[in-house]
């Protein structure tokens, strides 16, 4: 079973590597959206420092949502998904592996690049760490919740906009607590409580979301 999971992860990563422009598009989207905010609200450093966690979080959330359509779409189009459903490995585990691979491709780059972008907003060094850590804990939750939406909208017309309508309200707690971590650290309270809550959300979503997504896939494909 572990071998099957590793196989799914390696396969998805290899497929992504062959179409590396897809990965780059998501990262570039993130960078551009974050860079637009100072242009929109003005270059006042104090203001930028205040809004930085929220801006980075919202941009990361939108970027990871844009990438969601690709979690299952290609496998659905060429029939691989049906073979995965028929296979011996439980579908929930396959989904978990696919979501993990998807996070490595679309979530992890955002986490890695976020400190550089936060420098543009004049965030202090310790806050950079808290912000990156909150994104590292939060973006997998976004991928996990998003996988349910992606599975539900598989093959529907207008799936992209519909997906955002379904998934964005469910992202709200992650956004509030994730952006709250850096804000709490900035105000001197320390972001531990928020980071722990994010960790709890990650465990909860990791345990249940793949199975919900598996059920959604069976509904969509039957």
């Amino acid at each position: 079973m572990i071998a099957a999971l590793r196989c799914v992860i390696v396969r998805d990563l290899r497929l992504a590597a062959r179409r590396s422009s897809d990965v780059l598009t998501v990262v570039l989207f993130f960078v551009i959206v974050v860079s637009l905010f100072p242009l929109g609200i003005g270059p006042e450093p104090k203001l930028l420092r205040t809004v930085a966690p929220g801006v980075l979080w919202v941009a990361a959330l939108l970027a990871s949502m844009l990438a969601l359509g690709r979690v299952f779409a290609a496998d659905h189009a060429d029939g691989t998904l049906e073979q995965m459903m028929l296979g011996a490995t439980p579908l929930g585990l396959v989904v978990a592996a696919k979501v993990f691979a998807h996070w490595l491709i679309s979530g992890l780059p955002l986490v890695l690049i976020s400190p550089v972008l936060a420098l543009q907003f004049d965030l202090s060094q310790e806050l950079l760490g808290v912000l990156a850590l909150s994104l590292a804990l939060g973006t997998p939750v976004l991928s996990l919740i998003g996988a349910i939406g992606a599975a539900l909208t598989l093959g529907l017309r207008g799936a992209g906009t519909l997906l955002s309508l379904l998934v964005l309200p469910l992202y709200v707690p992650v956004l509030v607590i994730g952006a709250g971590a850096a804000e709490a650290a900035a105000s001197g309270l320390g972001g531990h409580a928020q980071l722990l809550l994010l960790g709890a959300m990650l465990i909860f979503a990791g345990a249940f979301a793949p199975w919900a997504a598996a059920v959604a896939l069976r509904i969509s494909v039957e």
């Binding site: 919740i145 349910i148 539900l152 909208t153 529907l156 017309r157 207008g158 519909l162 309508l165 379904l166 964005l168 309200p169 469910l170 709200v172 707690p173 919900a212 059920v215 959604a216 509904i219 969509s220 039957e222």
Partner: protein, 246 residues
Amino acid sequence: MSINWFKYSSPQIFFPVAGRLALGFGVLAVLACAVGLYLGFFVAPTDAQQGESYRIIFIHVPAAWMSMFLYVIMAFWAGIGLAFNTRLSGMMASAIAPTGALFTFIALWTGSFWGKPTWGTWWVWDARLTSELILLFLYFGFMALQASIDDPRRADKAGALLALVGVVNVPIIYFSVKWWNTLHQGASVSLTKAPTMAATMLTGMLIMSFAFWFYSIAAILLRARCIMLERERSADWAGQYARGAA
């Protein structure tokens, strides 16, 4: 003798029952609404601090209760539909969503009317307001998902799963007041301690919430009847009903 729990899960049997129930609850809703509004607007005393503007609670609070309660009921029918694969459960869930969205919207709208004279602003990013807004988005998402799927069976099941995932949000709404420290006052009515309002106010509010309950039941059953007719139009009984009604 064993009870057939699924007797009323057949649209053919439930259709006439729903019609009679909808009529009864509709009449009750009108009566309760008349009594509740009379109590609320003419009998209940003026509030010492908020003046007359507090009277919006006779609509606001019951609507907010219903908005959350209906989401749970929708998720309940959705879960039953997924577990037992009954057609009617999915129809009930789809029938509940618009009424739930309506009450969520009323709660937000009246709340903002109340907020302007009392807090001095139409809208604040307070936990309860925000989570009520998210609840509205959840209703919209549910309806949009169902509307974009042509196959009713898939629409029911996909909506059911979404409702079950979204129902996680309802407790967050309820506990958000305690989790985040915000502007909205704590609940004035609870089961564990005496309410902090005058008895007539409480009576008026409770009667109004019964009115909203009855209205919801009537509206949902009527909508469910339409959905049943539409989906079962090829069945004999639906054809006979349509010819008889025409």
